[in-house]
Amino acid sequence: MLKQIEGSKAVAEAVALCRPEVICAYPISPQTHIVEGLGEMVKSGELAPCEFINVESEFAAMSVAIGASAAGARAYTATASQGLLFMAEAVFNAAGMGLPIVMTVANRAIGAPINIWNDHTDSMSQRDCGWIQLFAETNQEALDLHIQAFRLAEELSLPVMVCMDGFILTHAYERVDMPTQAQVDAFLPPFQPRQVLDPQEPVSMGAMVGPEAFTEVRYLAHVKQMQALDLIPGWAAEFRQAFGRDSGGLVHAYRTEDADTVVVALGSVLGTIKDTVDALRDKGHKFGVLGITCFRPWPTVAIREALAGAKRVIVLEKAFGVGLGGIVSSNVRTTSNAADSVFTVIAGLGGRPITRDSLARVFLEVEAGTAPALTFLDLNRAAVDRALARERESRRSGPIAEALLKDIGLVTAQLR
């Protein structure tokens, strides 16, 4: 059924169609509308049977989900940014125990300085935690990925994080095709846990494992994620058959067949990149785009194949490893045959708009061979230089961010 609704509301409705049994909620922007929507559905009785629990922190949210999942219930929560970091210990724990929790991460920057807007620093900080990480390009894909996520999680007994860009997707009103309950029920079977806390068959879960077996237990977590690489493409095909659209899968290639330069990215920015590439194509520049939907597990083969014909690869990412550079690009470099020709563009940090003009400029620089290996898109170099100068001149130069903003002044007028 076609609907014109907010991304968060669409996700809430899709999650409800997945018949979650325990939902834990703790407010953090820009995720709040999702759990608000679900809370209302539980309160009204529309979503039943389901327990909606207002917890006291994100750490508790994930911990309640752990307990619920361990007791055999389909568990869901949503978070973002600081919330994801605050629950980090429990995030690793859920993966370590192999509990098939599904969590939405409404991607947002990490402070300090505090910033509520979109980038990918939160999800990227948890890239090695053992969760499957799927990134949605559109609101339609975000809601579809949740339906696939529950099935994937429960089949593999692994938790799945569905990442969607905060505000850009969560707060955007767009047309989505909402599946019916019958469609979702046919795609997503009831939860049959591999392990469950049951007095009829008592087990001990989460006990200590020493050096004699820890490697094997961790390796099996890796094996399971590798199994996801085999399952996801087939399920995306099955999803297309059942729901009539492409959603999910490992990667999405766009105009890559004869491309000299392929731009790799995750999430909603892919739309802007495709528009930019279309315009460049019209002028004879052979660009293509590779969207990565499944970031963990890392789809090595699919990415290598998609990049096989490219002379240059540009990885555009909304987070970076401080002191290193690109995070996604580091992954791409281990995958691509043209590792020396992988360029990193850091963009959209803390919600900075990523414009077609800026993208086209940096893309053409890479094509012309004049771009450095690492570019911070639209970096205000003068402001940075002034901040560095201030630190040279005075020992007590004060809070960096404050002085920098005094230099820049009101910025809204500068945004295009």
Binding site: E56, S69, A70
Partner: protein, 331 residues
């Protein structure tokens, strides 16, 4: 057949009286119904108060729930000594997640049972004092506040014993720990710090709060049984002496717990909906020195120079407990 209430003044306890008691007051440990929920063969130290308290508490909970019990366990001694895979002493479904989230994990289990209509299966969360009063306090308070259907049991041995006897917010004043060394002008843990968690639990107005020690094991069992009669959040705080951390002989565990009660150091009471409904009276108040002296963690109060000033402050705190909870039997 009627029964005469019995008191065994020889020991101050019921230790020899089990078979003289009416059936419903006998320890589950003396019956064929005993489930050995925490089975033998675990790695607890000799004289471990926590192992004793946990066995009595969980077996009692198993008895009243007819074996329909799930436990969530915090990181700590109890978790470590009972379970390294592939061995486990737990004969009940048991989950360890983290140090600080046990109450929340239990909330999740209770929610799962509720949603599945399995209200006959009950949930216990358990942890040491560090996992309860410090790192797990946020989750615990949240569980209390929501009145989730969980019995939380804190085994209080007054410190982080699993990591090598460090100070927690349940460590008593003047006690030596690895992070409150017995050196300097005010050796040991400072006065004026620490949390009174039973009182904090009561302030949440949850249905049931009780304290117990491993010296009055039938009282402990009775409190578990009483706790299981309520739905909602319940809290049981059990004093469990630790021979390793307290530095007393491992044969003195029960005696130390009894002295903690009889000196007024550890008031034993129960409360419903935030109001005290019963206290375990002290027949004969013992001076706190009797409790302090066998414990090496207080050795600096007796040698090289007796610290009567510090002992007096501890005595004052014990006297305050006795007044506050009316612990002394009326003459």
């Amino acid at each position: 057949m009627s029964f005469q209430p019995v008191k065994f003044y020889q020991t101050g306890t019921f230790t020899v009286g089990n078979r003289l008691l009416p059936d419903n007051e006998r320890s589950v440990q003396s019956t064929v119904r005993r489930t050995n929920s925490l089975n033998s063969g675990h790695r607890a130290c000799q004289g471990c108060g926590e192992a004793l308290g946990a066995r009595y508490a969980i077996d009692a909970a198993m008895e009243v729930t007819n074996g329909q019990l799930i436990a969530a366990n915090a990181t700590g001694c109890l978790e470590v000594f009972s379970t390294p895979y592939p061995e486990t002493s737990w004969q009940i479904p048991w989950v360890h997640s983290l140090f600080g989230n046990t109450a929340a994990v239990a909330t999740g289990i209770a929610a799962a049972l509720r949603v599945k209509g399995r209200s006959e299966t009950r949930v216990v969360a358990q942890g040491g004092d560090g996992g309860t009063t410090d790192i797990g306090f946020g989750c615990l308070s949240g569980m209390f506040e929501r009145n989730d259907d969980v019995l939380y049991i804190c085994y209080d041995n007054g410190g982080y014993m699993n990591t090598g006897v460090q100070r927690s917010s349940a460590t008593p004043p003047a006690a030596r720990t690895a992070t409150t060394a017995a050196v300097g002008p005010t050796p040991g843990n400072p006065f004026g710090q620490g949390k009174d968690l039973p009182a904090i639990a009561m302030a949440h107005n949850i249905p049931y709060v009780a304290t117990a020690t491993v010296s009055e094991l039938r009282d402990l069992e009775a409190k578990v049984r009483r706790a299981m009669e309520f739905r909602g959040a319940r809290y049981l705080h059990i004093l469990v002496p630790c021979p390793l951390g307290w530095g007393h002989d491992s044969s003195l565990t029960i005696r130390m717990a009894r002295l903690a009660h009889e000196s007024g150091i550890f008031p034993v009471f129960e409360a419903e909906n935030g109001e005290v409904t019963g206290v375990s009276k002290i027949r004969r108040q013992v001076p706190v020195e009797e409790y302090l002296k066998p414990q090496k963690r207080y050795a600096h109060l007796f040698a090289p120079r007796p610290r009567e000033d510090v002992i007096r402050r501890i005595q004052e705190a014990a006297d305050r407990n006795i007044r506050r909870y009316r612990l002394l039997e009326e003459a």
